[in-house]
Symmetry: C2
Subunit: 202 residues, 2 copies
Amino acid sequence: MMAQDFGKRISKKKRQIVSTATDLFTKHGLKRVTVEEICQRAGASKMTFYKYFPNKMALFRHIMNGMIEDGYKKLYEIDAIDIPFREKMQKLIQYKIELGSKMNREFINEMLGPVPETMDFWQEIQVKNCQLFIDFVTKAQGRGDIRKMRPEFILAVFNKLLELILDEDLRKIYTDYAEFIREVNSFFFFGILPVEKQEHRE
Amino acid sequence: MMAQDFGKRISKKKRQIVSTATDLFTKHGLKRVTVEEICQRAGASKMTFYKYFPNKMALFRHIMNGMIEDGYKKLYEIDAIDIPFREKMQKLIQYKIELGSKMNREFINEMLGPVPETMDFWQEIQVKNCQLFIDFVTKAQGRGDIRKMRPEFILAVFNKLLELILDEDLRKIYTDYAEFIREVNSFFFFGILPVEKQEHRE
DNA sequence: AGAGATTTTACTATATTCGTATACATTATA
DNA sequence: TATAATGTATACGAATATAGTAAAATCTCT
């Protein structure tokens, strides 16, 4: 009787709904996208949609949570690898950049803009993400990889530098994109490396 | 009393409306974008909008016509330069590619999709564009730059090759993007160059 | 001050979207 | 085959959004 489904197999239709909705949301934002449109493109009927999600916002939350989850895993994964902290950071930045191309500020604003409900949700997410990153930094501090500064401050700086990387105009200055990234990365590092590990200090 | 405005100066607000609408339409398509949204982002009131355009579709047509106009000028401009036909073609392809990044198929489909009115309009545009390109080809044939083939056929091939260029997957095969373009271009040419001008013929 | 452009606010008719109810079709499996 | 589970088609009412208009207030020039 297949009973509980063993919690494993997620309905094909559900997956299709989620994936097409992800596409549409990241492209056009929450408000512009219609439940009916999602269903049409997913090749599912509206009834199926409401079988799996109570409403559009729930689907959206589901998707966002998935993204957070991915970020969580990624961060944990990176932290577990046995490489110098600096390389970990590099990997993290790389990941955030890839994410950033989808989750850019415009996209976020578009979602935050008109729907007040999303504001609170976004706050939630930010807080979660914060905590995660702060743990990451705290661990690194425990190992002496970075100076003892308020992790919250480091997070803020990190985010500001990410904004810098996503800045199209600045990017144009560099002929080589990789060089640009290295530049930011190295800047970030000579700011947070503990004194005893820094070679170029005046 | 500034009277007729001398037909020169287009109201700043109108220009802003047109430009923000162009942005929004190219990003999200006709249907997803709201008159109110355009006005808000353009910093204009709805009344101003309806002062200049009778409705959303009219604005859309205005924008599209502008693009056609640009294409017209560009083609004429390219045709007028005293360079080999092959280089003209290269320039034309370059231009179409730039345009293609905005006017991609997805965008077009999105507009054609739900609004039946746009279908007819798009037909109109296609016909105009066709005629233009066909003139271009006919002239070239008159000069002996290309073989005597039905211009309509050449247009069709040209468009197919453009689709090829915009194909992400194919693009990935080439490490150098310029090489890719050259490849397509050269393929196109050794297909249409008149026999006496071809060097590598079996 | 005075004319034209622009905004603000308020409003209506229309269209869209949401979410549900019902009856029907498909698939899988015991 | 019988029995569920899953999905579809269609239609529907209610809430909401949008288009487009009207009239009065405000702004911006000269």
